[in-house]
Symmetry: C2
Subunit: 133 residues, 2 copies
């Protein structure tokens, strides 16, 4: 098992579109699969329902909340691959123009006509593991 | 998107051997890929390093700590599939005989001669989603 540097970890994260956002819901650890894209070093995620989004970052929360975001590619047979975890502040994307620009690049999980909510995660802490033989 | 019942969610969890354990590390959300097996309704996981295990459940912790465990199978192209999340108390497996029995069934992530530590998670809360067209 080898530790990855920040740049390599973010690069790998950008090679996939699926990941999982970790947050706290009613004082319990929670996780949801979502899709993401990288915007510079930031991770943009769309949550597939408004209730979950509201659990992660309340509409009244402007300073953001700390979340973790994980993505991995691991071979189910050999158990080889990589896992990257990003920890940082997540904020709602509220600017209409920014949202429109992101919506054109971010594929929703479930087909819906309008992209109405997204989060921007600033990667304060990036850790990555490569599972090797 | 359809919600799954507890029995169906646990059944799906048992069809795969990879998942991710969620815990709190230095007050931050953390996640690690692990492999698992079902022992009755309990989820047995082996962590791939002792430091992570100690972060999840301190050796002095006998009552267990609340963790979440997630597994999913999602098609990267169609985004169809399922995700199951189990929340419950995790305790270290300390009985030698129990450990030996589990070790024979639980494949380690990284090849190591001896299985030295495992966690048993009792699924208090089981939620599952099926992502459909």
């Amino acid at each position: 098992m080898a530790h990855l540097g920040r740049a390599e970890a973010l690069r790998l994260l950008g090679t996939v579109s699926l990941g999982r956002i970790l947050f706290t819901q009613q004082a319990l650890p929670a996780i949801r699969p979502v899709n993401h894209l990288l915007d510079g070093d930031d991770i943009i995620v769309r949550l597939h329902d408004g209730a979950t989004l509201a659990s992660v970052v309340a509409p009244t929360e402007t300073d953001g909340v700390v979340v973790a975001y994980e993505a991995d590619v691991i071979d189910p047979d050999t158990h080889l691959g990589w896992s990257v975890v990003v920890t940082g502040y997540a904020r709602r994307v509220t600017d209409d123009e920014e949202m429109a620009s992101l919506a054109s690049r971010l594929r929703p999980w479930v087909a819906t006509p309008v992209m109405n909510a997204a989060l921007r995660i600033r990667p304060d802490l990036v850790t990555g593991l490569r599972l090797t033989v």
